[in-house]
């Protein structure tokens, strides 16, 4: 394909060493998005407020990073980092709420499902916010690696 040779503006497309970590970050976001949709739409678990905020950070990562991969566009790393950072923060906070370190009274969880509920678990063992935190952490590390390679 001829598009392979076109270099995205400001993206070192030709020798894209950052492509692999970018791909890993995107793959994590894609799997997390698919997982969240499966839990919500197929298994019928209602997302709590904090889950929604994490979704808001996670879902666009698929598109932003996906576009970055398509054009080998290094700028996508810059745009994805704040989303991933915000998501990581919310996921960490959610986990603290789930473990009871922070009281839920601070969160407007009045309507819908509770963020501290035991229902926020997969297979009854793994808390969903922990999965989310792991995904955001992985994405952040991959993006950080990608950024370093862009700068080199």
């Amino acid at each position: 394909m001829s598009e392979e040779h076109s270099v995205a503006p400001n993206g070192n497309g030709r020798n894209a060493a950052f492509w692999m970590p970018l791909f890993l970050a995107w793959l994590l976001a894609l799997l997390a998005t698919a997982g969240a949709l499966f839990l919500g739409e197929v298994m019928g678990k209602t997302p709590c407020v904090l889950c929604w905020y994490q979704r808001i950070a996670m879902f666009p990562l698929v598109l932003v990073l996906g576009m970055g991969l398509f054009g080998s566009d290094a700028r996508s790393v810059r745009y994805a980092l704040p989303l991933a950072g915000a998501g990581w923060g919310i996921a960490a906070y959610h986990l603290l709420v789930f473990w009871g370190v922070v009281s839920e009274g601070l969160v407007p969880c009045g309507k819908g499902s509770s963020c501290a509920d035991a229902d926020v678990q997969v297979a009854g063992v793994v808390p969903i916010p922990l999965l989310s935190l792991a995904a955001f952490s992985g994405i952040l590390v991959a993006l950080w690696v990608a950024r370093r390679r862009v700068r080199e």
């Binding site: 394909m1 793959l27 894609l30 499966f38």
Partner: protein, 218 residues
């Protein structure tokens, strides 16, 4: 390899895995619901429930019903027509699944009307005005009293019946049966004990046809 194809291939793989997951999960939960329906067959029909149609009909549609539920409202005329068109072969048994705020109050009012033989009139009034009283964020089921004020009820008696122990017990039993039968959405249909899994009017009609054939009706 072209990187775009790697991306597209990954998307396709994830979508495929998702669809496979949906199929596996739906099959498994269908199996669970079937199992629940078989092991709890006594929870399907209770003598206290309202029946529409010929009580001795060969085919019984059990509907777990929530008066605040929009889809229940939409299905009411459909099911009624099916019963009426069956020449006494199909009956409807109404069970309650109060899944919304205020549904329990609405059910109590309807049941109080039933004690005076005005159940279907009250139900139809309540369903017709559902958009007014059943807003999910601010339900006002007490409005039903005004809606049924002129169908000839002894209102004082109805109001005390609504809070009486008989109706409370009926509601408790229906909720227990709803949980035993794993009904978590309304309307939840069972036809002669077979759960309607793929939801829809056509699917319900097909299931009823199938049970009519099994029952050997002409």
């Amino acid at each position: 390899m072209n990187k775009k194809w790697i991306v597209l291939g990954t998307v396709a793989a994830v979508v495929l895995a998702f669809v496979a997951g949906v199929v596996v999960f739906t099959n498994r939960s269908n199996q669970e619901v079937k199992q629940a329906a078989q092991t709890n067959s006594d929870a399907m029909v209770r003598p206290h429930s309202p029946i529409f149609g010929n009580p001795a009909a060969k085919v019984t549609i059990v509907e777990f019903f929530d008066p605040s539920c929009e889809t229940c409202r939409a299905f009411y005329p459909i099911v009624k027509r099916m019963v009426n068109a069956s020449f006494g072969q199909v009956r409807l048994v109404v069970r309650y699944a109060p899944l919304h705020h205020g549904s329990d109050t609405a059910i109590k009012i309807l049941e109080a009307a039933r004690q005076q033989g005005k159940y279907w009139e009250a139900l139809e009034r309540a369903l017709a005005a559902q958009p007014q009283w059943a807003a999910h964020d601010r339900p006002q089921p007490q409005m039903i009293w005004d809606l049924i004020g002129d169908i000839g009820l002894d209102m004082a008696k109805a109001k005390s019946d609504a809070d009486g122990p008989a109706i409370a017990q009926l509601l408790r039993q229906d909720v227990a049966d709803m949980q035993a039968l794993k009904v978590n959405r309304t309307p939840g249909f069972f036809v002669n004990g077979v759960p309607l899994r793929e939801f829809g009017e056509a699917q319900l009609k097909m299931l009823v046809e199938q049970e009519l054939k099994k029952a050997g009706t002409p």
